[in-house]
Assembly symmetry: C2
Homo-oligomer: 195 residues x 2
């Protein structure tokens, strides 16, 4: 008879993405075996993120009310948008410090090409918030995979009247990658984008 509290924690953990029931059970037992203050710290941390709100402009998480720190930064270029699937993609782009526009977190995109009501709502908001004459550029910053390509063409179609230019991130050989092991498609793109 596993303690009820372990079962409950394991059940909730197993509902998180990428955690299976066995791993969730092992994690629950591990958390139970932590020094009490560590388990309490974890509990507090989960509660703290529950207090975050959603930015009404880009739909990322916000610590400080309606607008996240990027959307409330007046120096960011409001005529340029990067559409990303998820927060972690936005973080990665921010780390380059080379992108100064705004974002739209569209949410995980489907594999069947059919946008959900949630995606449509965010696209609608983006269209409504476009400056007169449309955005100067919308970057569809989706991964260069089969599904990413499919979804990019769907989004490009949806947004065609919302921007003067719709682009995607450049493709090529990643820094540190070996030409020898690059696939043909990557090499073809690397040739095209040579500089």
């Amino acid at each position: 008879m596993t303690p009820e509290s372990i079962k409950q924690l394991a059940k909730l953990l197993s509902q998180l993405p990428s955690l299976g029931p066995r791993q969730a059970t092992r994690l629950a037992f591990h958390i139970a075996s932590l020094p009490k203050e560590d388990a309490v710290a974890l509990s507090e941390a989960a509660r703290a993120v529950a207090r975050l709100t959603t930015c009404t402009n880009c739909f990322s998480l916000s610590e400080s009310g309606d607008l996240c720190y990027i959307c409330s930064d007046k120096r960011r270029d409001q005529t340029m948008v990067a559409v990303v699937e998820k927060e972690t993609d936005m973080m990665t782009l921010e780390k380059t410090r080379k992108y100064t526009g705004r974002y739209l977190i569209i949410g995980d995109l489907p594999k069947d090409g059919i946008l959900t009501a949630g995606h449509r709502k965010r696209l609608q908001y983006l269209k409504k918030s476009a400056p007169a004459g449309g955005f100067s550029e919308i970057i569809l910053a989706l991964s260069p995979t089969t599904y990413g390509d499919l979804n990019a063409s769907i989004l490009a179609q949806e947004l065609r009247t919302t921007a003067q230019k719709i682009t995607r991130l450049g493709r090529g050989i990643p820094t540190g990658g070996e030409i020898e092991f690059a696939d043909e498609d990557t090499l073809e793109n690397a040739l095209k984008n040579r500089n």
Copy 2:
């Protein structure tokens, strides 16, 4: 700039076994995006397991004070002990409903054959709590792997004067397993243990 609360949750999650920093970050963002009541439920569940105590007899988790529900069950045979590495192993054995003795959770065993102070403390406790004349049997219920075999011989040596008989779980072809794909060692054991 990732919200501080996300960073903190990701850091704590990444300290759990089997969770890497990237997966921890994704999980933290996911938890933040849950309906508020779901994140609070997860937080509550982590806090509830922090309230569990350690059974003073078998070292498993207890909901109700000093002794866990198995150790406080007077019908369990106190002359027989199953030594397991972890709680989940105990749970699996309990599911069979065929084992009626007590347990000792020894904790994850080392890969270098050197027992820690924690392991030694638990072994000492087991020796002290043995009935006069020793236990009738100690089952070293460790996985039949190289390290399990190594640790079983170390424990057998440590406990040689504590029990009349020291055994391990039987080896053979698992139910549903195909003879064709069984390795030689398993088959040899299956032949030896035929019944």
